[in-house]
């Protein structure tokens, strides 16, 4: 049984699944639009959540939030399930496919056989779509891959029940009826407002713009507090979170700028186009940061390139984002 589903590649798995499931239901929502409506842009420095013993930095909200928010704001009903029993989760998948519904799954990538080997860490917040089953092979539309893939029953069950941080526990989700008319403009505005709130008003210094300033202050002391080697590992982790896990570049800032460009057209709001450009410039600074950090990691940094210099770029980025989100909030009043 194969559903007539169009595979397309995206920068980010959760955005990609959201967009492709929406498109399957006849709603032309791009990855960038799904990301913006779902308020996917964020910043959080989490010294107490360690991955391989190193604090994590996140440029997006918790797994699943983007999809949930996008569906809610577009007023599309979704179904979400987690399972204790592995076989039951596969039966539920088969039954849903049998009804002609493509299914989003959260999976771990460590056992994901088609995934490129250099990326197969114990990372559990990956998303893909299953759109069919032929000759015992599940047909997979994985947004970060160029082409559709396939997995056997055992292989799929294994990745649905990967263990570790953010265990999927067989998490599956799909869309129910799409309403005849959707109010994209309203969804865009809600999405933007939430992002502005997240980046500007959370009263904890680890989140949003405050979080960027926080890590900026801490970073200049990393070499003295952690030693050169460990400081470099902390930097490496940050770069990976910013650039590796399918952020589209610059910790999702470019995708968000692309969203603002689309939103400017959808809302006929020229201010959003200007803010899109500001966001692109900000993304370029994140990239400059990563480039310098990359050179420091490889011991190819020039004399002016140092942890204090990195810290200064982050501080400047914090200022930029503070301005952008303040102005963005006003632009959609």
């Amino acid at each position: 049984m194969t559903i007539d589903f169009k595979h397309s590649q995206s920068a980010h798995c959760e955005n990609g699944v959201t967009s492709s499931l929406l498109r399957h239901h006849g709603l032309d929502i791009s990855e960038a639009m799904a990301f913006g409506i779902g308020s996917g842009l964020f910043f959080a420095y989490l010294p107490f959540v360690k991955y391989e013993g190193i604090p994590t930095t996140s440029f997006r909200p918790l797994p699943g939030r983007i999809f949930k928010r996008t569906a809610a704001r577009l007023r599309i009903r979704m179904v979400r399930k987690k399972f204790r029993n592995k076989e039951a989760s596969m039966r539920a998948l088969d039954e849903t496919l049998g009804r002609g519904i493509p299914v989003g799954l959260q999976v771990g990538v460590f056992h994901l056989t088609y995934f490129p080997a250099p990326y197969r860490f114990h990372f559990n917040a990956h998303n893909l779509v299953v759109y069919g089953k032929e000759n015992g092979q599940y047909l997979i539309s994985d947004p970060v891959m160029e082409q559709p893939e396939s997995l056997t029953y055992d292989e799929l069950m294994r990745v649905r029940f990967a263990r570790g941080l953010f265990e999927p526990r067989g998490h599956m989700y799909y869309l129910r009826d799409a309403p005849g008319h959707i109010d994209v403009a309203s969804a865009i505005i809600k999405g933007i407002r939430k992002t502005c709130r997240d980046m500007l008003t959370i009263p904890i210094p680890l989140f949003g713009v405050k979080g960027i300033r926080y890590i900026s202050r801490k970073m200049s002391k990393w070499p003295s507090k952690l030693g050169a080697k460990r400081a470099a590992l902390y930097l490496g982790q940050l770069i990976r979170m910013q650039e590796e896990i399918g952020t589209g570049g610059a910790g999702f800032r470019f995708i968000y700028a692309a969203f603002l460009q689309e939103a400017a057209e959808a809302l006929n709001n020229g201010r959003l186009e200007e803010l899109s450009q500001s966001m692109t410039e900000c993304g370029d600074r994140w990239r400059d940061f990563a480039a310098m950090a990359g050179r420091i990691i490889k011991n190819r940094a020039s004399e002016q390139e140092s942890y204090p210099a990195l810290s200064a770029i982050l501080s400047e980025i914090a200022d930029r984002e503070c301005r952008i989100f303040s102005e963005l909030k006003d632009a959609v009043l």
């Binding site: 920068a11 391989e52 650039e243 470019f254 460009q261 899109s276 480039a291 990359g294 990691i297």
Partner: protein
């Protein structure tokens, strides 16, 4: 790390409009990824030396190779953490029954034989490019 797979990125064209482009990678990102695999490699190499010196069991080696800590392996195998810790000792490991070995082997993607008699020099990955395979 470079050139084998392409991922999608967002970039502006000459008119300032966002377009989606495929990219084979970007230097800082690849540097960070290589650094991560270097860390794995170092732990694998150190554990290999410990196994040869009789200080740790082959289980410890394959855990390092597959990036499992005791907590994660316990979650995958349902074997209690304190038991796994004891199996890191070579003498204790040697006395393990076949069933337990099978469970470990499955979780760590190795054969029972490879687990029992390993690690061989070929089990130690080359630096960076192939660490973890």
């Amino acid at each position: 790390m470079e050139g084998r797979t392409r991922e999608l990125c967002y970039a502006v064209d000459e008119k300032g409009r966002y377009v989606r482009v495929l990219s084979a990678g970007w230097e800082p990102k690849n540097a960070a990824l290589i650094q991560a695999w270097e860390q794995v490699y170092e732990r694998v190499k150190a554990t290999y030396d410990d196994v040869l010196a009789g200080k740790k069991s082959p289980l410890a080696f394959f855990m390092a190779k597959r990036m499992f800590d005791v907590k994660l392996l316990s979650a995958y195998t349902n074997i209690p953490k304190r038991k796994i810790k004891s199996h890191l000792d070579p003498d204790c490991f040697r006395r393990l029954d076949t069933e337990t070995l099978k469970v470990y082997a499955h979780a760590l993607n190795v054969t029972v034989d490879g687990l029992l008699n390993g690690p061989r020099p070929t089990d130690v990955p080359f630096r960076t490019e192939k660490a973890g395979r």
